[in-house]
Symmetry: C2
């Protein structure tokens, strides 16, 4: 058993007993899930960080607002809490953070708006959280896409981005769903949804991206407080879950 | 020279060189400013945390909202970022955070609404940031109160609170003003305003309160990015300054 695995199991037990603070748990989860040669993000002065995704990223932002780091543009989701930490922790670098999540998006819809809403910003870091709708909308919206479509579209999007911006650093966030959330009917979600998580992790490996293991983070966190404390519907995190996501993102990228 | 002082000076030099991350700097500042027997906050299960103050605390909250931990009630200031950290870090305790700051308040105006907007919540922790208007409004609003009035009113407020809630734990936040902010005319603010900071620190000692040295934190932070990065007008922090305040609050209370 490798050391990080032993350490993780020990911390999981402490967490279940309520004896471990969540940031310590987030750190342990990131270490447990990280690949051996997992990359970290290098932040240069005035770095542009683009946060992309669906409603979890969007989170009520003002879509007409183009001002880097402004709170209305950042919305009230995990993007805001990543931005607040980046701007404070790395003040000397004065990073520029943009949120361009759009509610309801699946991976092919990112591609449709990618030039204008991602590439045009010439981001140094592109962080993507996409996948929950790629599965969910097959249950509720008559969407016909499969896990294979998700994988191919996602890979093409990343390859295209890398072609246009050869020095871009990717952060690939694990899509997640919390059992016990009001929108999650377990028999309809699992194990099918797990495939989307595996694809995201595989693509992170292919593109030398940082991988943020959100599902593992929430799975550990529900040992301390119930799923509905973290995300009422199991899909859209509430305030504690938003901060947990930011914690995990900062840990995984090495920017904490 | 005591160890914490030596350590602080070393960290200040690193900070000025941009080689220290702001959370490390915040921690060093808190350690440097802490009294020898500085208390820490003990958080019990379901603890009620009340954040009180003026516009810096208020920060656009929905004043009709009474739901603990809800984002509209918390507003978009440092209160939000303290709440997000408390709710995540201490999830096992499921704390209840309330923001009841009111824009424009001076210390006597806290007293006028104290029963309904503080005591009635039976808070376990009362955090207060008050004082900038007690000075500012003498310059701009025709207010006649002096530092002595501030001190007496503040002491009476704390004594009254302690009388009604003998087990309450106080967090007294240092009022602050950033030289270089658009609203801060240096000759009109200093050294007069410094007296309000000294009084807040003195009262923290008298009431065995946690003291959060915001002014020292901002003074250190402006070595890495200019005052207007942290707070455009020098009074109301922007996003990076809000996160810095939350960092300092979490460090000073021992809840990080």
């Amino acid at each position: 058993m490798k050391d990080s695995r032993r350490d993780f199991l020990k911390k999981s037990m402490l967490a279940a007993a309520g004896a471990l603070l969540i940031p310590e748990l987030a750190k342990a989860v990131v270490q447990e899930q990280a690949a051996v040669h997992a990359p970290k993000i290098t932040l240069k002065k005035d770095a542009v960080i683009m946060l992309q995704g669906d409603s979890i990223t969007d989170a009520g932002r003002d879509r007409a607002n183009n001002i880097a780091n402004s709170m209305p543009m950042l919305g009230s989701g995990y993007s805001l809490f990543i931005a607040s930490q980046l701007l404070n922790t790395h003040a000397a670098k004065q990073p520029k953070v943009y949120n361009r999540g759009i509610s309801g998006n699946k991976v092919y819809q990112l591609r449709e708006r990618w030039e204008a809403e991602c590439l045009a910003f010439f981001p140094d870091v592109v962080s993507i959280l996409i996948g929950v709708n790629d599965y969910w909308h097959t249950l509720t919206g008559g969407y016909k896409g499969t896990a294979e479509v998700y994988e191919n579209d996602y890979r093409n999007l990343l390859a295209y981005t890398k072609e246009k911006l050869p020095n871009v650093q990717f952060v690939i966030c694990e899509p997640f769903a919390l059992k016990g959330g009001s929108a999650i009917e377990e028999q309809r979600w699992f194990p099918m949804f797990d495939e989307y998580r595996r694809i995201a992790k595989k693509l992170a490996g292919e593109f030398n991206a940082v991988f943020v293991p959100f599902q593992s983070g929430f799975d550990a966190a529900v040992k301390q407080a119930p799923a509905r404390y973290w995300a009422g519907d199991g899909v859209h995190p509430d305030l504690p879950g938003r901060q947990l996501m930011a914690e995990m993102w900062m840990e995984a990228t090495g920017l904490k």
